[in-house]
């Protein structure tokens, strides 16, 4: 069981100044290396003494990983850019407001000042059995403590659970998927670019990882194309404490409406499964339909088909249904006629 201590286990600390140096270190130390971005996820693990990496590679000195620049009408955001910088960036606010809204709803101002966009999308699951240091499936064991007859699993998955029922807790990830963002991953062997929705990996495929990052690889940037610039956006996050908390669920949608009908749409929910879920069935069903409460109602019902709630998270089914309904309508349900 985890006991928070003041002193972390000993490790060798590297603070590279360039991406090249960081990649060299990652290549040299492979799976022994731990990448430290803002530290909000890392320090929990290290101070709990659950993760004991031999080597920590602190990216805080790599200036080329910071900043937001315009590229061909879209944006390229360095992975070490803080959430506050993302929230305050005028181009993000103007063209991709869904991302600034999502990032602003993550955690607290202090955490957003320190936490990075790369860290937010790459953070580990927040299941307390797992974070508590129990040897569950995600930790390489053979049991999910959250999916037992007596487990406390209010925050866990209602969809696509496969042995592990933890969810992805990111607030920026669904916005990035809705915006068709791409993740730039580099290693000493070169660069690969994956779509944001393919960046996340579920327990059915790899139960001990949340992303497709392999040892030696580093998320260096996130590219947002111009495709959805200025579209109609909706982001809503539901959490226990409004001050700061991880999402019980969130929804992000980007759509183009023409003559009152939905012409193009991407809609994503997070904290419903181990990966952010792009609801392609909903997108197909509402495309060409009027953007109104009836379409939202239909979309909400479709979104939760196949949901399998656990003992204490049955509320997530109507929650997801309503979030999708509201995301499609674009206004809060109380204001509907």
């Amino acid at each position: 069981m985890a006991i928070i201590r003041d002193i972390m286990p000993a490790f060798e600390l590297f603070q590279p100044a360039t991406v090249g140096d960081a990649l060299g270190l990652l290549d040299q130390h492979g799976s022994d290396a731990w990448v430290l971005a803002g530290g909000l996820d890392s320090f929990d693990w290290l101070k709990d003494r659950i993760k004991r990496p031999k080597v920590v590679i602190d990216l805080s000195q790599v200036s080329e990983l910071r900043g937001i620049k315009e590229v061909a009408g879209g944006l390229e955001i360095g992975a070490m850019t803080t959430l506050t910088e993302v929230v305050r960036n005028p181009i993000v606010k103007e063209k991709f407001a869904i991302l600034s809204t999502g990032a602003e709803l993550a955690a607290s101002p202090q955490i957003r000042n320190q936490g990075t966009i790369g860290g937010n999308v790459s953070q580990d699951a927040r299941c307390w059995y797992y974070r508590g240091g129990w040897k569950c499936y995600r930790a390489g064991g053979n049991i999910c403590f959250a999916d037992t007859p007596t487990a406390v699993n209010r925050e866990h998955a209602i969809l696509h659970a496969d042995r592990c029922v933890a969810v992805n807790p990111s607030d920026s990830a669904p916005a990035l998927i809705a915006l068709e963002a791409q993740m730039v991953i580099r290693s000493v062997k070169g660069e690969r670019v994956v779509n944001a929705e393919d960046y996340f990996v579920g327990p059915d495929i790899d139960i001990t990882h949340m992303t497709v990052l392999k040892p030696g690889e580093l998320l260096t940037a996130i590219r947002i194309p111009a495709t959805w610039a200025g579209a109609q956006f909706y982001f809503e996050k539901v959490r226990d404490r409004q001050v700061w908390d991880f999402p019980l669920m969130n929804v992000a949608s980007a759509m183009v409406v023409n003559g009152g009908n939905i012409e193009k749409i991407r809609i994503v929910v997070n904290a419903a499964a181990a990966t952010p879920l792009r609801l392609t069935a909903v997108e197909n069903a509402v495309r060409g339909q009027p953007r109104n409460p009836a379409t939202g109602e239909m979309a909400g019902k479709l979104a939760v088909v196949g949901a399998e709630p656990l003992r204490y998270n049955g509320y997530k089914v109507p929650l997801m249904r309503n979030l999708v309904k509201r995301a499609i309508s674009g206004v809060e349900e109380a204001k509907w006629a």
Binding site: W134, K135, T148, D162
Partner: protein, 274 residues
């Protein structure tokens, strides 16, 4: 690093959770080493120490032996190939993700496991009531002859071994080991289905104590990696030229009269032209 991984459960007990997956590579390398050693032995050593068989009075028995000697019924052959497919599916789904090729394997794994379990249950009944049940188990003559072959191979004096009954001794030993490994993986595997979501069981990881579950996972893992080596050996022997007649009989059902006369004792495996 040991053979088994342990973890502390919420009650503070140190329990086994599964095997060290490096054993997968150990089994593959061990299997490969065995094949190479065997191939070298057959090529360079066995020929020099080749023995003949002790002859029995076969005149009466030989009279009615047909050109094609029936060895495996259609049902037995179908069982074998269904079991083979299930076994390969199980090995691929179990170990490919561990080798760095991740995919959603769990559902395919338990489906293949159910096919294997069903085929084994069928085989037990079929062998018990419709086949010569004892023909696949080593008997006293097999053990005596194995000793004779070992003595002759190591240069000691011994009477010549007799020809085989329906199944050679190595066939029988392989069957025995595969029975142990197969029953281990299927019995543990069926219980392990209580730990994952399937249409058949309500998930309940508390069906047994953590220690019992741990032992079950370890046994499943050990039998699983053991099967890597066993299957490698099986495929190797199936492809060896001197065994190829037997392999073909698993497709066509029969061996040639010549093969029968060369390797089998008509008094221990009685064949009629019927």
């Amino acid at each position: 690093m040991g053979l088994v991984q342990f973890a502390t459960n919420p009650w503070g007990q140190n329990v086994p959770i599964h095997i060290e997956f490096v054993l997968m590579w150990a089994a593959a390398i061990g299997g490969l080493a065995f094949l190479m050693v065997h191939a070298i032995y057959v090529q360079f050593v066995a020929a020099k120490t080749a023995h003949t068989y002790a002859m029995t009075d076969q005149a009466a028995a030989l009279a009615g032996i047909p050109e094609k000697v029936h060895r495996h019924s259609l049902v037995a052959r179908l069982f074998h190939w269904i079991m083979s497919l299930a076994m390969f599916a199980l090995l691929i789904t179990a170990f490919l993700p561990r080798m760095g090729y991740p995919f959603a394997w769990v559902e395919y794994h338990w489906i293949a496991g159910l096919v294997l379990t069903a085929s084994i249950i069928f085989h037990i009944f079929h062998a018990s009531f419709w086949m010569d049940f004892w023909s696949i188990w080593p008997d006293k003559v097999d053990i005596e002859d194995a000793k004779r072959r070992w003595k002759l191979a190591t240069g000691k004096s011994s009477p010549q071994p007799r020809k085989f009954a329906k199944y050679p001794m190595e066939n029988k030993m392989y069957h025995l080991i595969i029975v142990l490994a197969g029953l281990s993986v299927t019995l543990t595997g069926v219980f392990m289905m209580k730990r994952v979501r399937t249409p058949f069981f309500v998930r309940n990881p508390y069906l047994f104590s953590d220690m019992t579950w741990g032992m079950m996972y370890v046994l499943h893992g050990l039998a699983g990696v053991g099967l890597i080596g066993l299957i490698m050996a099986h495929v190797y022997f199936a492809l060896r030229p001197e065994k190829f007649d037997i392999t073909k009989s698993m497709v066509g059902g029969s061996i040639t009269r010549e093969h029968y006369l060369e390797h089998h004792d008509p008094e221990r495996w009685v064949v009629t032209s019927k």
